[in-house]
Symmetry: C2
Subunit: 521 residues, 2 copies
């Protein structure tokens, strides 16, 4: 067994490694306490002299493009996740890399999905050294049990942009799967058999990577418009038969939960936003694509119609429910990071008020502001939350790393951050004494809404004042916890090997917020 | 008098200074011979910690915004030229800077216009040290006569992007006049009383300047869409009564020349493109807003209709003539750097196939290709052209610096570059023995079309082969020159003081192509 890492306690009281994969780290300093020094990453200056045939950057296959890009052992290769669980490019990419005998790649996806289980064999044979990016499902389980050679690094969507922009992660070669592209390299996700919506998660990659390869199954004549990815940043274009499985890229339908408990939570969320006087003409909100988040939309729509108000903007991931709001005139705009269903893709393609955003505009904390901090209210999930409102979104209470952070951390900066969670799952309490992994400091979480009651963060005295006269079931978070403990029993501590850090969680500013430890299989 | 500058002869045989404004220069090495080393400019990393109220970046006035931006003597201040001769922001800006007692500013506009004559007093009193950017009309005359303290630096639109991107010019404060903006700093030029179309020429400024100030007369609710300028790059927003004079920002109408000679040239251009087999389905062209360039459009439209073909794209500066082509289905797209008339603005606002481009996508030579090099044919003007097809676009034959370069140099990379020029102007021959100022190497100029005949560059044997069987009046360039010399007489040499370089002309790669000397008043 390797020697245990040298650890330091950060401002959140969590132990984090001094070095991760050989790179010195900055421990978390507290919310808004760390200010970056220095300058952004500076890509090499290219020249049109090296692109005499820029109008045609086609190369015959991905292997050739990787060779021309100078692929070598130990490089960092990035991919994006807009094709979600239908992605057929990343597995193929690593099949090619493996066939070339290349080792020790740092894979830097914007997110991974269960379909990437295929890559475990490449983690095992040393093709991939480690993954920096979300570790969902099978890959998370693999990493959790200490099998990955390097240490996983978990970042929010905004944190990923920040890390690239700030030069913390240098991408050698970016692979951008594109549902539409021209030979110059302009690309978008709106058209073609593999349409997925926007390609915003690949934006930083396209700007900062040394080499950028577009992989498409739908070559169109120049200009491919809109150019969500600019061909001026692209080196090579590769055409393949298929970049993805359309049924898994976007679901034909996204469905609202039928669980009475979850529906109750959703109703409480809408009631709470009303009581907190957030529902005003011109307000804004963000809700994800989870069943509870979706379920909240019909309730809030009803209230908006009653009050005869409309939102200025809502933020996606978009679904047919948000699209309906736009089309019914209940919001002026959807500002959308990714489209989760076919209606979302159609709307982004057809409706100029359904606007693609990127992690740069929406989430990057090392910018001059971002959209997430301008949203009036956000509804998020969590796997665990503690009595100080600190929350976990990546590990389960058994310590297994099963989820990515997504935009979750970035969204905590909204005017009102609501965690909409069941009080327990599979008889495991959600409100715990200490979160297994800290992903969001309680300072930024304003309310926890469960089917058993609503706990407002005591630090938000203004919010408490607003909602206290409502008929909502307001309780202390300890009170809800106690009730659940009586039902489920006090949860067992996860069995973790604290000598082995399998992954770390970055905060939005690039500092280290927490460590994820090896869990029992 | 100051000591003469140390000069060196470059690959074009022109003498250029070793240092300009104290900065070491690279002499022109030949077309496509210079490759940049090093990395792009790296802006300081900002943080949302410094933007706790990012949703509202309003400050009370421009003076306050300049103070907050840390304005100091000797800084570089940039502006853009989308408001053209109707710009009311730049003069006001320097009134404010002058009132603050600030000196020695390097003014870095994307172009200057006659309306900026107001600034001569600030050149005289030391508020402005020198101008890097086009020197049109009165400012050009001022500089030409040796009165400007520093040396002017003339760059193409692409060269300006390149210089900012490559860190050759560091902008301390960018002032971006915006016909529409929100309090976050998102901005566009499409809406409002001062609508001018796109804001692409301010893109590099917004990305690379230390501080970015939006000045608008039309504040809209967030989100201001489309955000041609991203608020994530903006520090301050200032609201003023008016940023410009609408009648001078865009002309209500752009008119085709009525001169029979110019119309004949325009007709020859269309005929030539036909004979050269450029007019094929899916072809592309760029033509500017000059009278002759506009005049060529009806002729080419007629030919396209006869042949039943359409263009894949045409490139603006757009006018009502290009808009008509788009609306009549004669082109799939307009890819537009700036809109020259009201119809252009309307079309860019309303038609998703009328697309804003920027100097990054269109012109930057230090990118992985650009649009200008993908255009099949471009029609350009010139003040002078020599027997080797070298051309001048900035000075007149008397040596006076009266025009900017615009995208002219960048466009020379088109598949077929046509100079459409009268054989003489005011009895001064256009085809000369030696151009007063070299702006475009003859290697890149394929044909010179005058009312007296068409000269194809002998190096373009392929082109000669294609057109030689046509009925066009093909002649050698020397032959045309001789005829004009017989009419006008051999032109006098300009009276220049070769000891005094008043400005330099950069090539698209940042190297020094030529010097502009002090001229007699």
């Amino acid at each position: 067994m390797k020697r245990a890492m040298r650890m330091i306690k950060n401002k959140a009281g969590r132990l984090v490694p001094l070095y991760v994969n050989g790179i010195k780290q900055i421990p978390f300093k507290g919310v808004d306490k760390y200010k970056p020094k220095g300058r952004k990453a500076a890509p090499a200056i290219p020249s049109c002299v090296d692109f005499p045939e820029a109008e045609n950057k086609l190369v015959k296959n991905l292997k050739k493009a990787l060779e021309l890009s100078g692929l070598k052992d130990g490089m960092t290769i990035s991919t994006h996740h807009h094709l979600r669980n239908g992605d057929m490019v990343t597995n193929y990419l690593f099949d090619v890399i493996h066939s070339m005998g290349i080792k020790n790649i740092r894979w830097f996806p914007s997110a991974s999905f269960p379909c990437h289980e295929h890559l475990i064999k490449y983690l095992e044979d040393g093709t991939i050294h480690h993954i920096e990016g979300s570790l969902n499902g099978p890959l998370g389980k693999y990493a959790s049990t200490g099998k990955m050679e390097g240490t996983g690094v978990l970042r929010s969507h905004g944190g990923r942009y920040q890390a690239i922009q700030d030069g913390e992660v240098h991408i050698d070669i970016a692979i951008i799967a594109a549902p539409s592209a021209d030979k110059f390299g302009n690309a978008n996700g709106l058209y073609g058999k593999s349409a997925c919506g926007g390609l915003g998660f690949a934006l930083a990659d396209s700007i900062y990577a040394d080499k950028v390869i577009i992989v498409t199954d739908n070559l169109v004549d120049f200009p491919c418009v809109p150019w969500q990815i600019s061909g001026n940043n692209v080196d090579y274009v590769v055409v393949v038969d298929s970049i993805g499985d359309p049924a898994k890229i976007v679901s034909g339908t996204t469905e609202i939960t039928k669980s009475p408990d979850r529906l109750l939570i959703a109703e409480y969320v809408a009631e709470f936003m009303d009581a907190a006087r957030i529902l005003k003409d011109g307000f804004s909100f963000q809700a994800g694509a989870g069943g509870t988040s979706l379920a909240f939309i019909p309730f809030i729509k009803e209230k908006m119609k009653q009050k005869n108000i409309k939102a200025r903007f809502v933020r996606g991931g978009s679904t047919k429910y948000l699209v309906e709001m736009l089309e019914e005139g209940l919001t002026d705009y959807i500002l959308d990071g990714q489209t989760f269903d076919l209606e979302g893709v159609r709307s982004m393609r057809e409706n100029p008020k359904h606007i693609m955003t990127s992690p740069f505009t929406s989430y990057n904390f090392h910018g001059k502001g971002n959209f997430a901090s301008m949203v009036d209210a956000v509804v998020l999930g969590a796997t665990e939350v503690d009595l100080n409102f600190n929350a976990n979104v990546v590990t389960h209470s058994d310590g297994m790393l099963l989820h990515g952070i997504g935009g979750w951390q970035n969204c905590l900066y909204a005017g009102c951050t609501i965690l909409a969670v069941p009080s327990f799952r599979d008889r495991i309490p959600v409100i715990v004494d200490e979160v297994t992994t800290l992903c969001g400091p309680g300072d930024l979480i304003d309310a926890v809404i469960t089917e058993r009651g609503i706990a407002v963060n005591p630090a938000r005295k203004d919010l408490i004042k607003k909602v206290k006269k409502s008929s909502l079931p307001l309780r202390s978070i300890a009170d809800i916890q106690e009730e659940v403990y009586e039902i489920c029993g006090r949860p067992a501590k996860p069995k973790l090997d604290k000598r082995k850090v399998v992954a770390v969680v970055k905060w939005v500013d690039g500092t280290l917020l927490d460590s994820v430890y090896k869990a029992a299989e």
